[in-house]
């Protein structure tokens, strides 16, 4: 077995094995569970990073063996430049979420299951990204959903967690079914379930192209939580335990973007996709503005950041909809940068909730003096989400808007730019209300675990460093675009 194949096995194998071990150990591994999960996540991230030199040499690491021979189903995993940015994002987010969970999660007899499910959730995401086969893709896609759903149902906040988990399952499953129908149509038309075959081009009747693309875009938009298909998101994000929220917002939402890039954009030509350009851009703008307005209207600090995701996914869809090099590159960069910043903001929210025991923004204020480090981290997160330089999201937004101005419809990027002012408004309001002004009576501050603070500070620094040195990540994205879009 070649070294790159071993790394590939580690990426999916480490979380899988660790999850199985944790399931088997049950309450005997209460205190070691976090460490086991952390090591598995670190191995997975290490494996993904180890593939970078392989990709830079122009090789495509792959793993292929027959899984269910009777049904001609093969287990095919492979890494290309399209996969890589998403893979790294998921693995990194999983690691920081697990480290954060060390401080967040109070150990009890179910702790092993908690970490095991977190790893299965991560496995679902990395498997979805690595899969080079329709069957495998869908299995991992649903594993991601089931694992996160159980995490919300069992460890979520409040009595509504069961209902919220069900809602989350039904909604996202509806999207998954649309994706499944699209995949089946493609399978029927090509006779192959391999993505490699699909990438070489598919000939379908024009009506069928429209239908399949529609199913894919809408199906993946449910996962991205684009308005009006976003309704699962605020509840799921608000109720889920914070490490799960971080993984949902920072990593799982990006699966929708990956799906759009992997399927309609990679399979069909730009001419075939052109008809969807304006609807995607418009839907992106609507989502951007709507999410920002909802964030302004919300009172629960966790839901404010949840709605911010709806808005940010709007930017990504807008970028994808431009069908330009800059727009798509910006959208992919935005996935990575949004993951950093959104994880950071949710961590800050978690810290504020842990320290004060309050979630209503009206019941908070004046925390700047008591929690200066958290205030700085939150301010950086807020400025970053508002697209202020020199933080990372500025870079991706620049590319997205540049892509928008390369299209024939210049009013749309202008609208998107004006809509971005609402992002600035809620970001400033969020920080201002929590950290400045007078501290409400009776608001006490509890000490914070270092395990929660450390990843928060790390992400704050990363948001800055990525903004200053965007070239490496940009390089990955450029390779990806050359791979899937050719000459546009």
């Amino acid at each position: 077995m070649r070294m790159e194949t071993i790394w590939l096995v580690i990426i999916v194998g480490a979380p899988l094995v660790a999850a199985l071990v944790l399931f088997l150990l049950r309450d005997r591994a209460v205190h070691a569970a976090g460490w086991i999960a952390g090591v598995a996540a670190a191995l997975s991230l290490g494996g993904a990073l180890a593939l970078l030199p392989v990709l830079q040499r122009g090789q495509v690491p792959a793993l292929d063996f027959r899984w269910i021979p009777a049904a001609h189903i093969r287990l095919v995993l492979h890494v290309d430049w399209l996969t890589f940015p998403f893979l790294i994002t998921e693995a990194a987010v999983t690691l920081v979420a697990i480290v954060y969970a060390w401080g967040y999660h109070h150990p009890d007899e179910r702790t092993s299951f908690f970490y095991a499910l977190l790893l299965l959730f991560a496995l679902g995401m990395s498997g979805t990204t690595l899969a080079d086969d329709m069957f495998l893709f869908y299995i991992f896609w649903e594993l991601m959903l089931v694992a996160s759903c159980v995490l919300i149902a069992v460890w979520g906040d409040g009595e509504r967690r069961g209902a919220v988990a069900l809602k989350y399952f039904i909604f996202t499953h509806l999207g998954s079914l649309m994706v499944l129908v699209g995949l089946l149509i493609l399978y029927d038309a090509t006779g192959s379930d391999s993505f490699s075959v699909l990438r070489e081009g598919v000939t379908l009747a024009p009506g069928l192209v429209t239908l399949v693309t529609t199913l894919f875009i809408i199906g993946f938009c449910v996962k991205m939580a684009i308005f009006p298909l976003h309704l699962w998101l605020p509840d799921a994000h608000a109720v889920a335990p914070m490490p799960v929220t971080i993984m949902l917002a920072a990593a799982m939402l990006s699966m929708g973007t990956y799906g759009i890039l992997r399927f309609p954009l990679s399979i069909f030509s730009m001419d075939q996709m052109a008809v969807f350009s304006v609807p995607m851009m418009v839907a992106g703008i609507v989502s951007e503005i709507y999410g920002a307005l909802m964030a302004l209207a919300e009172d629960d600090i966790k839901r404010i950041i949840a709605y911010s995701s709806v808005s940010q996914m709007g930017y990504i869809l807008f970028g994808l909809g431009t069908l330009t090099h800059d727009g798509i590159a910006g959208a992919t960069l935005h996935v990575i940068y949004h993951a950093i910043v959104k994880a950071l903001l949710f961590m800050c929210v978690g810290l504020v909730i842990r320290a004060t025991g309050r979630r209503r923004i009206a019941a908070l204020g004046g925390l700047w003096r008591a929690m200066p480090l958290v205030a700085i981290c939150t301010a950086v997160g807020a400025l970053a989400i508002a697209g202020s330089p020199p933080f990372c999201i500025f870079d991706s937004e620049w590319m997205i808007f540049a892509g928008g101005f390369h299209t024939a419809h210049i009013s749309l990027p202008i609208l998107a730019l004006l809509g971005s002012l609402l992002t600035v408004a809620y970001a400033l309001w969020f920080v201002g209300r929590i950290f400045f002004g007078n501290r409400p009576e009776g608001l006490t501050i509890e000490p914070l675990p270092k395990a929660m603070l450390a990843p928060t500070v790390l992400l704050t620094v990363l948001a800055f460093i990525e903004g200053i040195f965007p070239a490496p990540v940009f390089d990955w994205v450029t390779h990806e675009l050359a791979l899937i879009l050719g000459g546009i």
Partner: protein
């Protein structure tokens, strides 16, 4: 050598800013002030030392953002002079406020130095992306300065509001940059502008021509916001709550200078931008007039100066739209000392100051006012010679006349307040401020007397022919033959005379700065008007009515436009957005368009009774919303795509 100097000019303030930020909790305010003063002085000297290297080509270039080209720093003559003026202004501001060093927050020093470093990059770079980034950093410094000094909810609101307004300008700038990049294929400022200039004239109404016009419009929005043109002077008003150094340099100097420099660069495009050109002419002249009229209602000297700046912004835009690029360049250097002098003089001419202080303040305000009016007369004289539209010129000249009226009023107010008794500050003007103001005053007088050679020197920097500078008699002849100026001056004199004669209102200094429209007062004035109608002759009655109408009109305009219209509109818009968002939240997120979709809800419920037992009411409604959304989305896409 040039490279070392450029790096030092940027690096020294940047490092000092970092040091002050790190040591902010422990550093004494006076130490922070002196450090900031020393660093700005050093930056000024470094900029001076760079002058011999002006025009020497790019000294540093980095590729920050892949595929966006090399971002270089070039000691261009115009950029260097702009750096020199801005850094010098910072130095003089800090020198003049040295007596208040013990009140200087160290973080303000850090922000000022960071803004200075960013401004230097903005002036020296020839890359749009770099310039945009540093402008954003300057905007952030301006907003954060409020938070440093006012750490209450009010401070947060002010900082947020200021930053939002400045970001609106940046939206315009980003639009301009990205459209220009789309057309020219480069982010290098000079080549992009040159290509746009070559294209815009011939492109006409083609898509490329339209893009370029939108680009120019975007840049103009950015300029208008940065200069604080009406109604964007609101962000500058936030600075009035701050210490004098932040107020004068961060708020009144840095961003407007950056705005003027941007206007200077895009002026050639403006003349060829079709309708945008027309709009700029009218926004410039109309904005100046509106700001001037509004300024007449202000009682606070510093607020009046903010509106004066808004008038100036309008006039500059008008002059730029007339194609007098040279005037924009000259204004960068004329306005810098004038601004400093006016703000410093206004600070010591407050009604609470001692008589001696107010005398000095009034004299300097008079000097600054005269210089400002003369400069405005000059630039509109230049604009008039380009064959600009006469109606727009008329409005602009009226605005110039209003600057004269405003200056006279400021001096009058100051003199009037001397006659009043009241609490006075007894301390003397610190020597550092005396020296700064003296230098500025002599500089302005000397610059005015030697304006011709000075303009020639400044124009030689840009390698362009200086415009004709008229003699003072010619300018005065132009003034007395300008119908708009005569009309405004005449109307003002009549209104003032009649006002005093018939109404005998209290002295303006006694009025509240935030005066609201008062119904009772209106009724009293109406009664007085009635008395005037009954007791004085018909002609006088008529004039009184006109005067009353003008005053009440101005008051009403102030209330509607400034207090209710503009701020009310902003508040209304914000409230509308929030209320709308809340309503939408309730209807869509929580109720799921219950009323509208009740029947469909029942239909879905009938189908899913088993499901109903497991979930909450909200899920039921959301589910319907989701199902309908999905169906509609599929239908739309299929119909659209098919």
């Amino acid at each position: 050598m040039a490279k070392i100097l450029v790096i030092s000019t940027i690096g020294v303030p940047l490092l000092a800013s970092l040091a002050l930020a790190v040591a902010s909790r422990r550093a004494r305010p006076s130490v922070a002030h002196h450090t900031t003063l020393a660093v700005t002085g050093l930056a000024t000297l470094l900029a001076l030392a760079l002058l011999p290297f002006a025009g020497g080509g790019t000294v540093i270039a980095v590729e920050w953002f892949p595929s966006m080209g090399q971002m270089g720093l070039t000691p261009s003559p115009t950029g260097l002079y702009a750096v020199l003026a801005t850094a010098g202004a910072a130095f003089f501001t800090l020198l003049a406020t040295a007596a208040h060093a013990h009140e200087f927050p160290p973080l303000t020093g850090a922000l000022m130095l960071l803004a200075l470093a960013a401004t230097t990059v903005a002036f020296l770079t020839d890359h749009f992306l770099a310039r945009y980034v540093v402008l954003e950093i300057v905007a952030l410094c301006i907003a954060l300065a409020v938070l440093v000094e006012i750490q209450t909810r009010r401070g947060v609101r002010l900082a947020g509001g200021n930053y939002l307004l400045l970001r609106l300008g940046d939206v315009g700038m980003l639009t301009g940059i990205l459209l220009l990049m789309d057309v020219s294929g480069t982010l290098q400022i000079s080549p992009a502008l040159e290509q746009a200039l070559a294209t815009i004239g011939v492109a006409g109404g083609t898509p490329v021509g339209m893009r370029l016009r939108w680009a120019v419009a975007g840049f103009l929005l950015a300029v208008w916001v940065k200069l604080g043109g009406w109604p964007f002077q609101l962000w500058k008003r936030g600075g009035l709550q701050l210490a004098l150094a932040s107020q004068i340099w961060l708020y009144a100097t840095v961003m407007p200078s950056l705005g003027i420099y941007l206007l200077y660069r895009v002026t050639p495009l403006l003349a060829l931008a079709g309708h945008v050109h027309e709009v700029a002419l009218w926004i410039g002249s109309g904005g100046a007039l509106l700001a001037g009229l509004t300024a007449l209602r202000q009682q606070n000297l510093r607020v009046t100066l903010i509106y004066q700046e808004a008038v100036q912004a309008g006039l500059l835009l008008f002059v730029a739209a007339s194609g007098v690029k040279e005037a924009i360049w000259l204004s960068l250097f004329v306005m810098m000392p004038l601004r400093l002098l006016l703000f410093l003089a206004a600070d010591i001419a407050q009604p609470t100051a001692s008589a001696r202080q107010r005398k000095i303040g009034t004299s300097l305000l008079t000097l600054g006012g005269i210089a400002l009016v003369l400069f405005n007369l000059l630039i509109t004289w230049w604009a008039g010679r380009t064959g600009v539209r006469l109606d727009a010129l008329f409005v602009a000249q009226a605005a110039v006349a209003l600057t004269g009226v405003l200056s006279a009023r400021v001096v009058w107010q100051s003199l009037k307040s001397e006659e009043e008794t009241g609490p006075r500050r007894s301390y003397e003007i610190p020597w550092a401020r005396k020296m700064t103001m003296g230098l500025l005053g002599f500089g302005i007088v000397g610059g005015g007397m030697a304006f011709g050679p000075l303009a020639q020197h400044l124009m030689a920097i840009t390698s362009t022919t200086p415009p004709d500078v008229p003699t003072l008699p010619t300018l005065l002849r132009h003034t007395v033959t300008s119908p708009a100026i005569l009309l405004v001056v005449g109307l003002t004199l009549i209104a003032r005379k009649l006002w005093q004669w018939t109404i005998q209102i209290p002295t303006p200094a006694a009025e509240s700065t935030e005066e609201m429209y008062n119904l009772e007062e209106g009724l009293v004035r109406a009664a007085r008007a009635l008395r005037a109608v009954v007791e004085v002759g018909m002609l006088e009655e008529f004039i009184v009515l006109i005067a009353l109408g003008a005053v009440e009109g101005a008051r009403f305009t102030y209330r509607v436009v400034e207090q209710e219209g503009l701020e009310g509109l902003v508040a209304l818009f914000a409230r509308g957005a929030i209320d709308g968002a809340r309503l939408t939240y309730r209807v869509v997120e929580q109720e799921g368009l219950e009323g509208l979709l009740r029947r469909a809800v029942q239909w879905v419920l009938a189908l899913g009774r088993g499901l109903q037992r497991w979930h909450t009411g909200r899920l039921r409604h959301n589910l319907l919303w989701m199902a309908i959304s999905l169906a509609l989305a599929v239908l739309t896409f299929v119909l659209y795509g098919g």
